[in-house]
Amino acid sequence: MGPVESAAPRTPDPLPTPAAPPIVLILPAACEALTLVHEAARRIAAGAGFDELAADEIAVAVNEAMTNIVEHAYRGEPGHEVTIRFHPSPGGLRVELDHRGESPTRLPLEADPVRLAAERRRGGLGVALMRKLMTRVEHLEPSPGVGRWSLDRRHRHPDGRSGDLR
């Protein structure tokens, strides 16, 4: 199956995969791990040259992807793992979250809280939020049985002091 992409009208090009080895975090696919993921993502994004607001946005997006894996890919079952790879590069930061659970077949593009509230929905915001906070969001299947959220955030300036959405 090809990549499930939340195809915005014009999806930005992906960041090139950098040569330097990524920072890797392997941890239980459990909500208890969300705070650790949030703090690590924020710290790594800041270290990659993003300002405080951008680092916060990246941390929230990574947390949403992690939550998606815990709740949807693994349906809340205990005993599973997530592997997160942070790839800083001159162009920005790519974060990949790999799992061995269920992959989404279709990604929601937008989420309208007014409509969702009218339907008494409590969910449906996660993927839309990731898309709003990152430059590019995809769900891939890099090898059989492996699902991957791939999140790119570009620097505003090519020499990268801060992060912009486009």
């Binding site: 208890e32 705070t35 929230v60 989420a111 309208d112 007014v114 969702l116 008494r120 915001l125 839309a128």
Partner: protein, 116 residues
């Protein structure tokens, strides 16, 4: 330090719910319970103060989203005050300003229920 602590104060007929810490998929059940217990007890005038929130993930916004129309159906509302920093930012990014009324000061949020 617990990840989420929730204080509830009654200001006249209004319940002010003040979460401290962060609301994510791990802590959201406590946040949701605090809200729905208010509603079940008939307190449908609710102000959520963001003064001591460090961040709110989509799960936290989802809890408000899932409850607000029932609260409105019972003549109440969920209004928000004292949002700042990353929480205010995500609130806007998600378009929640079209769903919930917000106020800078808690007093104004409480006052807004007067005569309603």
């Amino acid at each position: 330090m617990p990840e989420l602590e929730i204080t509830i104060r009654s200001v006249g007929s209004v319940a002010v719910v003040e979460p401290r810490g962060f609301v994510n998929a791990h802590t959201v059940s406590g946040f949701e319970r605090a809200l729905s217990e208010r509603v079940d007890a008939g307190n449908v005038r609710i102000v959520i103060s963001g003064a001591h929130l460090s961040y709110v993930a989509s799960a936290g916004f989802g809890a408000i989203m899932g409850l607000i129309e029932d609260v409105r159906g019972r003549g109440g509302d969920i209004r928000i005050c004292a949002l700042s920093g990353p929480v205010a930012h995500i609130f806007r990014v998600l378009g929640f300003d079209r769903l919930c009324r917000t106020f800078e000061r808690e007093e104004d949020a409480v006052e807004s229920f007067r005569g309603s």
